[in-house]
């Protein structure tokens, strides 16, 4: 908290150009230029579409994570949650085929089930954190293990596959386009806009920020701290369930390796976007750019064979650090800072 207050204060007025906001955008543009220089096919329509679609998963989850982190919490369970939701969705849809056939109804049942599970899982995280008064890190580390092992159990260690006939009905949700953009991208856009409105234009968003900034002040300002915090986890769960709904039709399967490390990616996207890990300051726009940056890094590395495959992680790590360093945006003022 203190830190932010301090770093934000000095003469932000002088900068006609707000680096804090523009930082992630600049990092993304630089990455795109690098990508194009490495291989002009990087900017081909197909690749851009792929890139956006891929970002959708992490992006949607990261929008939820922005709320959790802004309110001073953390959720490590999202990757495992996605896996278990995907698994249960598939089991439910496969089961529903007998009764409801292989039509849209079955898919809708699957989606409904996903939403319920997401909200339920989020509520459990939130409830244990607020009413159980257990550190969010521990609660979600615990549920992360629990969800992951549940999907392994359901899949009997292997892979759960969606009935082939339903796949045909469900496929378009991932593969079809509307007005030139794939459906997942539309979902991402809608979730982002809703998230942005919620965080910046509603009382709920204010409350999240206030809680992350100073929980006692929030309490004395008639904010139901526990309830709002729980809501952030529920929202996170909802986002995970939406991401899962567009993930499942992609390959029609879920296994214990689904969504591994998504939690780190989601949190990284949020932080790269300029949200403060300790809470009190959240930026949905930044989060979206953060998700795009992460996906682009992976994409670029697939576009070149200049670097040993083994060193992909090194490049990824370096780029993330540099991207965040860029977005601090005070390299010019380095010497003036005391």
């Amino acid at each position: 908290m203190t830190e932010t207050a301090m770093t934000q204060t000095p003469k932000s007025r002088f900068q006609s150009f707000d680096f804090k906001t523009a930082g992630p955008a600049i990092a993304l543009i630089l990455l795109c230029i690098i990508g194009f220089l490495l291989n002009p096919a990087f900017l081909s329509e197909g690749n851009i579409t792929n890139l956006l679609t891929r970002s959708a998963f992490i992006g949607i989850i990261a929008v939820g994570a922005t709320f959790v982190i802004t309110a001073g919490g953390i959720d490590l369970s999202v990757g495992s949650m996605a896996a278990v939701i995907a698994g249960v969705m598939i089991i439910v849809m496969n089961g529903a085929v007998e009764t409801f056939g292989t039509g849209v109804t079955t898919v809708l049942i699957g989606c409904g089930c996903s939403v319920i599970l997401g909200i339920g899982a989020g509520f459990i995280n939130g409830f244990l954190t607020t009413k159980g008064k257990i550190e969010a890190f521990i609660v979600t580390l615990g549920t992360m293990g629990i969800f992951r092992s549940l999907v392994t159990y359901f899949a009997d260690g292997g892979t759960l596959s969606l009935n082939y006939d339903i796949r045909g009905v469900y496929r378009p949700v991932y593969y079809d386009s509307f007005a030139g953009l794939p459906i997942p991208v539309w979902v991402f856009i809608i979730v982002s806009i809703c998230g942005w409105l919620l965080l910046n234009r509603t009382a709920f968003g204010r409350y999240c920020t206030a809680i992350g900034s100073n929980e006692s002040v929030a309490k004395y300002s008639a904010i139901k701290v526990d309830r709002i915090k729980t809501w952030t986890y529920v929202l996170q769960g909802l986002c995970v369930s939406l991401a899962t709904i567009i993930y499942v039709p992609r390959l029609g399967s879920a296994s214990s390796s689904t969504g591994v490390l998504w939690e780190l990616e989601a949190i990284a996207a949020v932080i790269i976007g300029g949200t403060v890990l300790k809470g009190g300051y959240g930026r949905i726009g930044g989060t979206i750019l953060g998700a795009l940056i992460l996906t682009t890094i992976g994409n670029i590395l697939n576009f070149t064979d200049m670097i040993s495959n083994y060193l992909n992680g090194t490049m990824q790590g370096l780029i993330i650090i540099v991207a965040v360093w860029l977005q601090r945006g005070d390299w010019g003022r380095k010497n003036k800072a005391n």
Binding site: M1, T4, A5, Q8, T9, P10, K11, R13, F14, L197, R201, T202, A203, R206, Y207, T209, A210, S213, N214, S216, V217, K219, Y220, S221, A222, I223, K224, G280, Y281, N338
Partner: protein
């Protein structure tokens, strides 16, 4: 102004200091010199630049222009409290303690006594205990700061400063949170230090204190130096006039006769809660009810329980004649019962947010239109609040943490007033506020009481309680020891109840 002679005698001297934050100027060519063995008071309205000047004199800010002389030598003061090595010690206006650490750890933070790398914990604890005894503070060196009340924290700050063998001791409103009894103990220490030749700078809005303790007084107004005079030549009224730049009428408004037949809007019967042991009182419509008592007497605790901030163990709270147990602050707020905390930094304001967000946070549901926060309405509210409470910031866009202390307090008052309360409970409403604004606030309290709002004023400043209340409740150790009305409201009576010398059981 300072001639050659005084420069020679002064320990620390500021010459034509100017300071701007960004483009916003705050101090304009201010000069001030401090001599060994004197108490030099610095007074001025909220936002006049007192804290800024003090921070410059102790190296926490660098001046934009001007010189600082120490013992006649021009020098650049080192930043971040390193001036302590030069003997210049500052007590910040905002509390500057690490909450999770103990008293002893805080007092010695940054200059622990060690032997061969190991902390001499026993020795440090003894030293701290010694100071605590000197200043009459009943806490242990091993107590955590987070367990202390604000006044106690302030006293710890004082202990921290005293333990540093200062040559120049700069104190930014050290007495704002203290009661008179504590202030007296504190002044004894000041006298002692003064006798040892320590130069002391003292910022306060309590002008009678200034008159009592200081040798010289410097007045700032809007970042400009106005005057430096011997204190013996000035009366508190004269000081106030120099600060505000105009004649001040009566500080307290005339008290309207209380309506004897007004209905009781709030009744509390035999309330038991943490630190509250069986409290019974009532509050009538349009009444100003003062709550007095020593620090830690449980006044805050009573109202935190009433407003849903703390659990109630037993007892009854009736609002408008109906049982009303507010299980959450928002329920209390929706009913029109609001509580203004005394801890503006820890519980009152989001220091890393802008004024507008802070102003509307409490009454936010009121600003929601079509599911979203009406930002235009917010801006209008902000404008109104600035006018109504005279919130002065030279830059409307700064974080609340950078507002001057008094302006933060005004913003806090504006924040709770945003939701048009029916019962307003204000805890230490004028903490750190200049006389001019105090007067406004008192008139304001009288005015809303006249409109039918009931006001509870919890205050450790006796004159304030006496000046604004229709009735005064005195508490001691979580219990009510007496209720005073009319002519009985005077300092003598209050002190006797507060100290436990007198006790009457009033049950109506």
């Amino acid at each position: 102004m300072p001639d050659g002679q005084t420069i020679a005698a002064s320990v620390l001297c500021a010459e034509r200091i100017s300071k701007s934050f960004g483009t916003v100027p705050v101090l304009f060519s201010v000069s001030m010199d401090i001599r060994a063995g004197e108490v030099h008071a610095l007074i001025g309205e909220n936002g006049a630049g007192k804290s800024t000047l003090m921070k410059i004199l102790s190296g926490f800010h660098q001046p934009t222009s001007g010189r600082i002389l120490m013992d006649g030598q021009e020098m650049t003061l080192p930043p971040n409290g390193e001036t302590e090595k030069l003997g210049v010690v500052l007590i910040h206006q905002e509390l500057n303690l690490a909450e999770q650490m103990t008293v002893e750890e805080n007092v010695f933070l940054g200059r622990e006594i060690t032997r061969r790398g190991r902390l001499e914990r026993k020795q440090m604890a003894d030293v701290v205990q010694g100071y605590l005894d000197d200043i009459g503070l009943d806490i242990a060196p091993t107590d955590r700061i987070s367990d202390l009340s604000i006044a106690q924290k302030q006293m710890v700050e004082i202990v921290k400063a005293m333990s540093r063998d200062a040559r120049v001791l700069i104190m930014d409103e050290p007495t704002a949170t203290l009661t008179e009894a504590e202030t007296e103990l504190f002044f004894k220490q000041i006298e002692r230090l003064k006798a040892q030749g320590v130069a002391i700078i003292f910022v306060s809005h309590k002008l009678s204190e200034v008159k009592a303790i200081s040798d010289r007084v410097t007045v700032l107004r809007d970042g400009q130096w106005i005057a430096t005079q011997d204190a013996k030549d000035l009366t508190p009224d004269a000081m106030a006039q120099m600060m505000v730049g105009r004649e001040l009428s009566d500080l307290y408004p005339p008290i309207n006769e209380a309506d004897v037949d007004a209905e009781r809007v709030l009744e509390v019967k035999d309330l038991h809660a943490p630190d509250v042991k069986g409290v019974t009182f009532y509050l009538k419509k349009g009444e100003v009810l003062g709550f007095s008592g020593l620090i830690g007497s449980g006044r805050t605790a009573v109202f935190e329980a009433v407003c849903g901030l703390a659990p109630i163990d037993s007892g009854e709270v009736r609002f408008d004649g109906r049982p009303a147990e507010f299980t959450s602050v928002s329920k209390a707020r929706d009913a029109g019962v609001v509580y203004l905390t005394k801890d503006r930094k820890g519980k009152g304001l989001l220091l890393d947010k802008k004024m507008r967000e802070n102003l509307t946070l409490f009454a936010l549901p009121k600003f929601v239109r079509n599911l979203s926060v009406d930002r235009k309405a917010e801006a209008e509210a902000m404008e109104r609040a600035v006018r109504r409470f005279d919130i002065r910031s030279r830059d409307a866009n700064i974080n609340v943490g950078d507002l001057s202390g008094g302006n933060q307090q005004k913003l806090l008052l504006a924040k709770v007033m945003e939701c048009d309360p029916r019962i307003l409970i204000i805890d230490e409403p004028t903490r750190g506020i200049d006389v001019g604004t105090k007067q406004q606030i008192y008139h304001f309290i009288a005015a809303i009481a006249a409109e039918g709002v009931s006001v509870v004023v919890i205050s450790s400043e006796m004159p304030e309680i006496i000046g604004v209340s229709h009735r005064v409740v005195v508490m001691r150790e979580g219990q009510i020891t007496g209720v005073l009305t009319g002519d009985h409201i005077n300092e003598n009576e209050i002190v006797r109840f507060a100290a436990g010398l007198k006790r009457e059981m009033t049950h109506d």
